[in-house]
């Protein structure tokens, strides 16, 4: 019964509208990229330092993405207004 439900969850897509809120799906992706990149990059893996560096990378990449979104929106607004 449970197996059937789990398998069924992977055979049909979930509903995601084409709204600005769907952009929030980029954050889990950025977090995964930050954690894996730092796991391969750090020479010795001290856990606290690893978490801190991953978090810093995640925040800086997220900040850059948000800035890019703002700039692109401004450009669109300038062109269309």
């Amino acid at each position: 019964m449970l197996e059937g439900l789990v398998l069924a969850a992977f055979t049909s897509p979930i509903e995601i509208g084409t709204t600005p809120a769907s952009m929030l799906w980029m954050f889990p992706l950025l977090a995964a990229i930050s954690f894996v990149y730092k796991a391969t990059k750090m020479r010795v893996l001290f856990f606290k330092r690893y978490l801190l560096e991953s978090l810093l990378l995640f925040l800086s990449v997220s900040g850059f993405m948000i800035m890019a979104i703002i700039v692109l929106n401004l450009v669109c607004w300038l062109i269309t207004s």
Binding site: T11, I14, W25, P28, L29, A32, V36, V44, L45
Partner: protein, 143 residues
């Protein structure tokens, strides 16, 4: 005589690197596990597998489509040979997916594959440098 032993050592080294690379492709993080970087291996396995499964959950297994989305499939197959089995299940087009869930599912699974490719290279490089054989234990004790 010395030439022969050098050739043998070189062959052993190549076989070791191939084993590490293949293990890292079969199961994400397994390559790092083989070179005794167990913490890295666990982190890589958990993060990349979560990302891949989340992509399949969002867009369904239809996002693995080697007929209609071949370029994405090349990125996805880097996650594991399991993707080939999923691709075989979806090749008849029984799991059609469109719109934003398709985009997000393909991006998540594709990035999971590319991240695993980075990890394969990292594991092979660590094996090439002798990590795990020479200094692995000391590093684990330090950490």
């Amino acid at each position: 005589m010395a030439d022969s032993s050098q050739q043998r050592a070189s062959f052993d080294q190549s076989l070791w690197l191939l084993t590490v690379g293949l293990a890292a492709w079969m199961i994400p993080g397994a390559g790092h596990f083989l070179v005794r970087e167990r913490k890295r291996g666990i982190i890589i396995f958990v993060v990349i597998t979560t990302l891949f499964v989340l992509g399949l959950y969002v867009g369904s297994i239809g996002v693995v489509d080697w007929v209609g989305g071949r370029i994405w499939f090349y990125a996805q197959i880097l996650y594991s040979p399991v993707v080939g089995i999923i691709g075989n299940m979806t090749k008849n087009g029984d799991f059609q997916v469109f719109g934003r869930p398709s985009d997000i599912g393909q991006i998540y699974t594709g990035i999971a594959g590319l991240l695993n490719f980075l990890c394969i290279l990292s594991a092979v490089y660590m094996a090439y440098c002798g990590r795990g054989q020479l200094i692995g234990h000391e590093e684990e004790e330090d950490a």
